[in-house]
């Protein structure tokens, strides 16, 4: 898993690529924590380059979302496909967290 990010208006966009599995997913939480400490509370995770996610990835996401929310921010997602989209759907994460089809939609929200 790789995370690269950039500021886009009010949001910090994090492009997550590769595999979010038991061996790598902790990095997502760490990355969000780092952004939070740097002052970015509203994060959009663009998962269009993410090939794979397991329950360990969901755990990392849930934990990051809770922290951002507690700080008055939020964590939204876009670009889900394949198994990533399937896992978000069956796990209920797609309803629990804000998920958009495209990055434009994610950035257009208030």
């Amino acid at each position: 898993m790789e995370c690269t990010g950039s500021k886009q208006g009010a949001f910090y966009v994090l492009e997550v690529t590769g595999r979010m599995d038991a061996l790598t997913s902790q990095g997502f939480e760490t990355e969000c924590q780092g952004r939070l400490e740097a002052g970015d509370k509203r994060i959009v995770a663009d998962l269009s380059g993410l090939e794979y996610i397991s329950s360990a990835g969901l755990r990392s996401i849930l934990s990051a979302a809770k922290r951002l929310k507690a700080a008055g921010g939020d964590l939204a997602f876009c670009g889900l496909s394949g198994i990533v989209s399937e896992v978000f759907t069956v796990s209920g994460f797609a309803k629990l967290l804000p998920v958009y089809a495209t990055r434009e939609e994610a950035l257009a929200r208030s």
């Binding site: 038991a22 794979y52 397991s54 329950s55 755990r59 896992v87 069956v90 209920g92 309803k95 967290l97």
Partner: protein, 171 residues
């Protein structure tokens, strides 16, 4: 030391047995994906296999052998291959069998039914209420079709991937 299996006639089911710890995950994954390719498994099933393999193996690594290091074995049976004819299995499917010799545990019917029901009921709960545990088993049961048996001192979990082999999710 001769392997423990010398008395058995092989059935063309490739298999790999390794210590039950996280370092073994990549080797299991590599073997499973290689055979998924040879079995002609469609990409969506390969992805489910990948996921379910991680979930079940991680559970065995963390829970099957409390306080000791055991082993886990993965066997792969492509449809139409092997000593036993695979009745009615469509082409492009792959069965995966996971065996461990740890504490008896059926991942397809968890003892803690209450936790499971809580989780499922919980799927649409808010962030605060959402408990992260139990998700691995939930994904396993949602994305794979299979059977479990306690055979002697072993847990044997058999999962099948391919057309009509997993409950259709979402669609």
């Amino acid at each position: 030391m001769p392997p423990a299996t010398e008395a058995f006639v092989p059935q063309l089911a490739p298999r790999l047995r390794l210590p039950a710890h996280e370092e073994s995950l990549p080797a299991f994954r590599e073997l499973a994906l290689a055979w998924a390719g040879r079995a002609g498994l469609a990409d969506e099933f390969v992805q489910r296999l990948d996921l379910v393999l991680e979930e079940t193996l991680m559970n065995v690594f963390h829970h099957a052998y409390p306080g000791e290091l055991g082993e886990v074995e993965l066997a792969l049976v492509p449809s139409g291959q092997g000593g036993q004819p695979r009745d009615g299995e469509p082409p492009g499917s792959l069965s995966v069998s996971l065996t461990d010799w740890g504490v008896a545990f059926d991942p397809l019917a968890p003892e803690d039914q209450a936790l499971e029901e809580g989780l499922e009921a919980n799927l649409e709960a808010g962030l605060e209420a959402r408990a992260p545990g139990g998700m691995g088993l939930f994904l396993l049961r949602t994305l794979a079709r299979g059977s479990y048996a306690r055979v002697g001192a072993a847990n044997v979990l058999t999962l099948t991937f391919g057309p009509e082999s997993a409950p259709v999710s979402g669609a």
